[in-house]
Symmetry: C2
Subunit: 346 residues, 2 copies
Amino acid sequence: MKKVTFKDIANESGYSKATISRYFNDPDSLTDDAKEKILKAINKLRYKENKIARVLANGKSEIIGVLIPDLYMHYYADLLTKLLVCSDKYGYKAIVFQSLDDSIKEKDYLEELLKYHVEGVIVISHVISSKELASMNIPLVTIEREDQYTSSINSNNYEGGLLATKHLVDQGAEVLIHINSGLKKESPAYGRIKGYRQVVKESKLESKEFNANFGDRYEEIVSKFKPIFNEIEDKYKGKKKGIFLSNDTIANVFLNLIVQKYNTLPDDYLLIGFDDSPISKEAIIPLSTIHQDITAIAEKAMYLLNEKMQERKKRHPKKDETIKHEIVDTTLIIRDTTRGKYEELD
Amino acid sequence: MKKVTFKDIANESGYSKATISRYFNDPDSLTDDAKEKILKAINKLRYKENKIARVLANGKSEIIGVLIPDLYMHYYADLLTKLLVCSDKYGYKAIVFQSLDDSIKEKDYLEELLKYHVEGVIVISHVISSKELASMNIPLVTIEREDQYTSSINSNNYEGGLLATKHLVDQGAEVLIHINSGLKKESPAYGRIKGYRQVVKESKLESKEFNANFGDRYEEIVSKFKPIFNEIEDKYKGKKKGIFLSNDTIANVFLNLIVQKYNTLPDDYLLIGFDDSPISKEAIIPLSTIHQDITAIAEKAMYLLNEKMQERKKRHPKKDETIKHEIVDTTLIIRDTTRGKYEELD
């Protein structure tokens, strides 16, 4: 494939090379007539579309940036998958950065993204404050992170906590227990705890919260879980325990500890997790859980970002000062760990 | 932040705007003296580095493309995570595309990537043939896919199959069984089957292969697995069964079926999976498996791609005609499903 040069376009259009260069770099400095003639020449030469040149010409890179924490957690991998599908629908490519909980990197990456003229950014990682993100003055949407100053899409975590805990009450729980993995107050996921507490308050049942920073490593989760399991076994012997765990990974650990001890999930245990991640199905006894609609989260995030990006491209864009927080419904998924009566495994 | 324009640089350097434009678009047309003076002016004005302009100036986009199938399988999510870390080390950003098994999309994406002047591509998705990939004439490395015409990094799947099956023999298996999920002959993962067959041949033990296309959905895997489980139960009653499964997800399904029936993994079952993915640890009985060194795979892929990209940037690049296939060692991970004698769960 022969490369078409500025010189070829100049010869074809009758303009100088410098003018052709201006066409790509500073098109507003040319008359409409000149622009039209040059465009015709380009089309005639079937100038291999050069996205980079087009970006310089009109500022439309057709690239968005996506900042994620990491893909170890299935939730993030799933969310990224769905975001890539959605951005593609809007004709955008995605440059993906993972910040691995490093705030310096996260800032560097954001700087880098601006240099590439990305048109917008979706931020899932949670190191930089929303205030700082907002100050960047670029179309931006955050997902499931602190979002005081940014437009955001989040799951209805509060509703999820309510649904999970109410279901435990409905199934006959006599004690309500919540176990979570170091959720922070400013994160949207903290709503799960609030939902749980609301039901505790209404039901007036005995209750207990365990808040442990389990970390990411499976072995670490297991070792930190054993004393919690023992405490629950001792303290609530004979009582029907309704246990809501803040994610399916830790719910599976707890389930395994119980099954390893009893060969089954005894009648006096009701367990429910959160996320509807693959492990909830793959567990030895399929886990009840709260479904997060990740497809809807990705679609709404991309829709909102696209609105902002299109506004920015207008000749006289409105200043984007409205902060939108959208909430996506969660659903109760009843599987086998909240049946109240689970038959012996056989 | 005030935007510095070509006009500002022109005023500062004493050259015309057209010359400044040439500096970014066709730098070779300027004298070294002119280039140096313009650069000084830019630095003085602390011209906000414009990557896009630099790409036009020197062809270095500092972007690579990564084509993945999807992130549902933990293996791909993990590989992408590691590739993002490695590309960052070499100063590259990654545009990520997922092709979702759609060959038309995959071709479109590759076309798109070329338009963005990506410097190289890593291809993990497996729809387009390596012959077609090679014809694109861009630095390119493939991972764990058909690779006849492309440089590639793969796990030593054959060695993994050998290690797994030998371990079953060592633990006293009387029958060797292999269950795999529709592996294709041309894929590197097919080496797992070859390794298994080699040990079957040497050991002269009775053996049986099951080849089922289980699909991606957990429920589908379970339903397709039940008849296989029943057949094994009937046919090899009382014999010590050494079962090698082609990945940990299906190994976990099989383990759950056994434990749901017997409350334990009986003495006459030895199970080993492949991948060392999280589910192998999170299973009700931790699964023996073959570890793939994904960090090493990502590092070698990026090293090889970088070599090719650097060569391409030279004034007189050598034509890249050597195809390299590098192999990364696998390791046997012994957990609890190949102990031969597993105590009752309690």
